[in-house]
Structures are given as C-alpha cells and as structure tokens.
C-alpha cells in the first residue's frame, strides 16, 4: 500500500482564498457535470 493522500505530517501549501472562488468553482463544476450528462436518464 502506497499512501497518496492524508499523509501524516504532510506540509500542504497554504491556499490563498480567491474572492471569486464561488464563481469559479461553480463554473468548473458545471462543465464537469455537463460533460457527463449526455444521458439524462440518470445514474447507472
């Protein structure tokens, strides 16, 4: 098992919050979900 995430003592870079994060996050997500929404009938 090779640990990738949730590493003990990981030094995670501090993310500076963008004021426009809400807008940007939403837009990126819309794109991602939309790509996958070619079949609107629902989940597998």
């Amino acid at each position: 098992m090779i640990a990738i995430s949730m590493i003990e003592n990981a030094e995670v870079s501090e993310k500076q919050t963008d004021c426009c994060t809400a807008m940007r996050g939403r837009k990126n997500l819309d794109v991602v979900t939309s790509i996958m929404a070619n079949d609107p009938d629902g989940c597998d």
Partner: protein, 505 residues
C-alpha cells in the same frame, strides 16, 4: 468487519515503469482506494483489493492487510461509528457554510462592449435597463435580510458583474464608484469580474476603495483570443486586456485570469503558456490563471412548466465530447501549461500532489448556498448564469423586497443525501450529488432533489483520468526526494521547485 460505504476503488492506467509490477492487475492497471470521509487515498496491490472484496463478502481476511485497510478507513468495525463520522462531516460542512463568505453580485447593466460568441447573457448585452442610485442602495439594504434567510453570518463580499461592469462611460463609472464606495463604507470586500479592456483606466478607482481582486478572461494567444473576445465591430482586445492585467498587478491588485478552452483553442495553450511565462505571469504573486470550458446554455430557456419533451431535449450536456480528453492529453504533454493552469477538475490535486486529505464534495455548486445576484430589473437571482431570465429569478430587491423561500430553500439544502439516487452511491463525495441544481429542477418539472445526473461511471472516469495524470507526477517527486543526498534540505520554495516534499521523507 465491513467495507466503509464511502470506499471507492479506482482503476488507473499508468505509464510503463511508473510502479513496481507487483502493483499491476491482470489488465496492467493499478488500483487506487479512496475514502473521502477518512480523507485517505492509497495505491494498493491486487492482494489488498482482493482482501477488501473478501471483507465485503463477509469472509475472514489476513490480519496484517485488514489492519492497513482499517487504519486508512477503507474498512470499519462499527457501522454506527462510521455513520457518525460521515454525519460529522455533513454537519461540519453546513456549519461552515453558515459562517462562510456570502457573495453578492451587482449588475449595474447587462450592456457589454464585446461580442464573445459563447456569452451566456447573449442578447441581453446589447440593450439593458440600468441600476440607478436608489436601486443600488436598495440592493445593499437587502443584504442583511438575505443572509438572515440563508442563516448565514459570514462576511458579505461584493462582486461587480455585468454585462461589463467596468465600461469606460460616465454612467458605468458612476455606478461602479457608488457600488465600490458602498462596499467600502460597509466594510465589505469587493471584487470585479470584467472583460478587462478598460481595466487600466479603472485601477485608480479600484485602489481608492480597497478592491483587492479582479477577474479577467484571456482565451489564448492573440491569434486565438482575438478571434472570439472581440469588440462589437470586430476589433481585437488582447493587448488592451494584457495592459490592464499588468497595470492592475503592478498596483497590487490580485488578477485572476480565466482561460476558456474549447476544441479550437486547446492546441494554442502551449504557446499561450510560453507567452504567460515570458510575461512573468505564471509565477507572479498577484496573478493566478485557471481554465474553464465554453459551454452550451439551452437549459436557461427551460422551466418546469414546459412540456417534458422540451425539457429533456434542451437540458443537456454542455461540452462536446472529446474536449476533456484533448485537454488532458495536451496538458500531459506540456508541463508548462500544467504550471500555468494547475487544472483540477476532480478536485484531488492537492490531495495527490501534496499529501493533503481528500476533501469530500457534499454540494457540487455554491450558487445555492452562498451566491446572490442583483440585476438592473430589480430582480434577485441565485445562479449568476441565469441572470436576466425572469423565469429563474428568486425574488426582487426593488421597488420592494421579496424572496421566494419555496424555490430557494430546497435549492439551498440540496446535497448528496437529499437526492434519493445519490444517497446510496459510493462516489457521491467525488460528485457533489445530482449535477447542476437548476438543470435538475428544470428537467424534472420543478424538483431540486432530483438528478440531472452525471453517470456514476463518468464520475469514476473523471477521477481516474486525473489520477492517471497526477500520480506519475506525485510518484516522480517522491522518487526524486528519496534519491537526494542527505543534508540538501532547503526552503519550502526550493523543495517545491525541485519537486520534493517533506511528507515524503
């Protein structure tokens, strides 16, 4: 012993030689376990995957392997405790939402001087009513009331939005200054989302009222950008925006540069990255660049009372198939583009590259909880993409205040557990649950707690695609660190540059 309901097994194809062959399964792929409740992600051997499946089947499993799976949260001993861990994350999220910043977008007018072919405001931008002084004050006055209805006690922040909010006209200068001054006087941080062509002229005003951040768009090098983000008479805008970025950043204003990518521009990104590097933008402390994709907007014209056939046909996927694949291929072959955009469509970049905990995505879109837009018709909207389409308004701020709780509340509370189809899904925490709320509402005939649903296999593919991209990078950095002679520890910046991370030691 049982498998945690939030444990997901991803199957990732990595370049030959990336890992010890002992990690490869029969198809030559590696398995990655992830659990967004425990925050863990691990590359596992076929034996460990088999052990997990035996736990799932209720069999006895080798103690050492199970101990590892248990320690990382992939299996658990008590379903009640596991549910409590999950519930704590959900409760913590909504607690955080109540205290998070709330974005209020002011649209003084829909008018814009550009004619970008993909603009979601489209025809609205050619002719528009204007917010007058009384309307702008009325919008400010409703902010506490709206926050109260959302049970939000976080700091409000104001975003100038449009149309183009920074048009260099007497009206727009007056309206922008009133909004900036109103924000400054109330102690609200303020930002602007602008096309950037007159940004340099606005920098003194932005500085005067303490605006710390603006967002502009550049779609590639001039030869690409100036085929789409042009004035209404077709004249180019690239160098005006470039100047605005430089002037603003030099003045100390953070500049976010959004790069919209489509099939025609994806191959231009490597040249654009070279341009951005030569400009000093990629490593500039005041500049951040990120990508989006151009998209279709037919869903804006659909409401629940339309016939089902129309709803089903107009609420649909936005991005032509293949664009995402082409984008990842391009980024994989061009590390400078990766440095420029740091793409993170599956929201796992920091977890994979830095060893951060995996972050659960409980609510795919922030528009429901912490965004409101005021338009120049006196209407309030929840999603900035729907502004100016009265069928999507959720209230009014002028001449009187009204707020449609029956519409807004189910939208606000929608999350991975309120959508029945998502509740039992083990990839829900990588998805946020049910896709775009407005699309779900429109397509279903008015029910927010439905899916406009990415297929589960597609969610999995999205994460696997990004893992295939990020894992070699993470493993290479780890290897480079392991090979470094002792005593070469440097500063964090130096270590990041050479690709070595303290957690790897």
């Amino acid at each position: 012993m049982l498998v945690s309901p939030n444990t997901v097994t991803f199957s990732v194809e990595l370049p030959e030689g990336t890992l010890d062959p002992a990690y490869l399964d029969e198809s030559g792929k590696v398995s990655v376990l992830a659990n967004a409740v425990s925050g863990s992600m691990d590359i596992v051997t076929p034996a460990e995957v088999a052990a997990l499946e035996r736990v799932r089947a209720g069999d006895d499993v080798d103690g050492e392997i199970v101990a590892g799976l248990l320690q990382r949260g992939y299996v658990c001993t008590d379903p009640v405790e596991e549910e409590a861990r999950y519930r704590a994350i959900v409760d913590g999220y909504f607690q955080a939402i109540q205290e998070a910043p709330f974005q209020f977008m002011f649209i003084p007018s829909f008018v814009c001087n550009l004619a970008c072919p993909y603009c979601f405001e489209g025809e609205l931008t050619t002719k528009s009513p204007r917010m007058d002084e009384e309307m702008i004050e009325a919008a400010f006055d409703t902010i506490p009331e709206i926050q109260d209805r959302h049970q939000n006690s976080g700091p409000p922040y104001i975003t100038l939005f449009g149309g183009e909010p920074l048009l260099d006209t007497p009206y727009h200068r007056g309206a922008a200054e009133q909004i900036l001054r109103g924000s400054y006087d109330r102690g609200y941080p303020v930002t602007a989302i602008t096309n950037g062509v007159a940004l340099d002229a606005y920098v003194p005003m932005l500085l005067k009222y303490g605006c710390e951040e603006v967002q502009v768009s550049l779609d590639g090098t001039p030869s690409t950008h100036d085929t789409r983000r042009v004035f209404r008479n077709g004249k180019p805008t690239f160098h005006l925006i470039e100047r605005g970025i430089d002037v603003a950043a030099e003045a100390g204003i953070r500049v976010l540069i959004r790069v919209l990518v489509d099939e025609d521009s994806v191959d231009d990104m490597p040249r654009f990255a070279e341009f951005a590097q030569a400009k000093g933008w990629i490593d500039h402390p005041k500049i951040r660049m990120f990508n989006g994709f151009t998209k279709a907007i037919t869903f804006l014209y659909v409401t629940p009372d339309h016939p089902e056939e129309k709803r089903k046909s107009m609420v649909r996927g936005d991005v032509k198939s293949g664009l995402q694949d082409a984008f990842w291929r391009m980024v994989q072959e061009n590390p400078l583009v990766d440095r420029m955009l740091q793409p993170d469509l599956a929201r796992i970049r920091s977890a994979v590259l830095e060893g951060d905990r995996l972050r659960p995505n409980l609510q795919g879109c922030s528009a429901g909880t912490s965004v409101v837009a005021f338009d120049p018709n006196g209407k309030i909207y929840g999603c900035p993409e729907t502004v100016g389409r009265p069928q999507h308004a959720c209230g009014t701020f002028y001449p009187e205040f009204s707020y449609a709780a029956g519409y807004r509340d189910p939208w606000r509370h929608r999350h991975v557990d309120t959508v029945p189809m998502c509740r039992e899904c083990n990839v829900k925490l990588f998805c946020g649950g049910g896709g775009c709320p407005i699309k779900a509402w429109a397509a279903s005939g008015g029910d927010f707690n439905t899916c406009y649903c990415p297929k589960v296999s597609s969610i999995t593919t999205r994460v696997e695609t990004q893992l295939a991209y990020l894992l070699p990078m993470a493993l290479r950095r780890r290897q480079e660190h392991a090979n470094r002679p002792e005593g070469e520890e440097g500063t964090w910046e130096q270590m990041t540059r050479v690709g070595s991370f303290p957690w790897m030691s």
